[in-house]
Amino acid sequence: MLVAFLELMSHCAIPLLVIGIPILAHFRGIDVFASFIRGAEEGLKTAIRIIPHLVAMLVAIELFKLSGVLDILLEILKPALGWAGIPPAVLPLAIIRPLSGSAAFGFTVDLINTHGPDSFIGRLSSTMQGSTDTTFYILTVYFGSVGIKKVRHALIVGIIGDIAGFLAAVYICQSIFGRG
């Protein structure tokens, strides 16, 4: 019931905004087309402004993945997982989730297909995928778009959120679905 309502909301939100904003503005005496163009001119500029930040970040992340640093990190962390009841198969997903959205999604699809969507790993990886966002990407794009170079505590806060999300996902999936 709640799910159906939320799905309806998510399907209708965009059509409602697309029709609602211009109509309300029209009745408030605004030249909607001119206003749209004025606002839209920022689109390309914003995207171009992000490019240097994104190149810097994505090259570093690719290097981290391709050079083998990621594999070394996984080897180091693996023994710590056993006692927590965390399947080692989800560790790469946990590490890559904050770094690369497309890679993480690829991992999740792979885990779901390999282990089955209704296995513990399948359910856990599904939960992990939806529980946080790509911290490094969001940080780079959001701060890059306004030219901020000193991010202060935003990065550490994002990583704390990622770790909390991962641990919560493990705990909740174990409690609700069992370790099966």
């Binding site: 994104l54 050079s67 806060v157």
Partner: protein
């Protein structure tokens, strides 16, 4: 912080690649990473242009200011340094709403609009303000009510109950957002900021 992490990623990556006798991986990372960056940025242009256009209409009609005034009592406490009825509150709300509903295409442009408005209030243009850090905390920990993509993948893989992960995802994302907001509040209040220590 980001400075050191970036330097760390680069130097560790190059050293490990060289040590493994695969210097070509460095070249590959540079090519793949920079191409992906440009593709990602340019991929945003279309939807970003549209949503910023729609926001332009909402701005000119003062709809954002009205929305800001309406929602300020509910989420205003998260952003104490945004003045009452400043349009940034409206954009922040739209960004949070789009995230909640899983509308990634709309969430990013709306979030960037909010960042641009917060930047107007920022006394140090190359340094993140408190409110920006809070907005980032909300976005990086993503409060999503319906993870549409994951459900689609599960259904395609033949799950007996593709939506059974809705509850677990909601609890996990609630924990990550709560942890991020608490950490943000901690740093905001007890960490040294530009004007010395701040008390909350």
């Amino acid at each position: 912080m980001i400075n050191r992490i970036w330097l760390g990623f680069l130097s560790l990556g190059v050293v490990v690649a060289m040590a493994k006798g695969q210097p070509e991986m460095v070249t590959k990372a540079v090519t793949v990473g920079s191409e992906l960056a440009v593709q990602t940025a340019l991929g945003l242009v279309g939807t970003m242009t549209f949503w910023l256009g729609l926001m332009g209409i909402a701005e000119d009609a003062d709809l954002i200011v009205i929305l800001s005034a309406i929602i300020r009592p509910w989420v205003g406490w998260l952003f104490p340094d945004v003045p009452a009825e400043h349009p940034a509150m409206g954009s922040i709300l739209l960004n949070m709403g789009a995230n909640l509903l899983g509308l990634g295409n709309a969430a990013t442009p709306l979030g960037l609009k909010a960042m641009a408005q917060l930047q107007e209030l920022n006394p140090y243009p190359d340094r993140a303000s408190d409110s920006m850090c809070t907005l980032l905390a909300i976005n990086t920990s993503s409060i999503t009510l319906i993870p549409t993509m994951v459900i689609a993948v599960r259904a395609a893989a033949g799950s007996l109950n593709p939506t059974e992960i809705l509850g677990t995802t909601l609890i996990a994302t609630g924990c990550s957002t709560t942890a991020a907001l608490l950490a943000d509040a901690y740093y905001r209040c007890f960490h040294k900021s530009v004007g010395g220590w701040k008390k909350c």
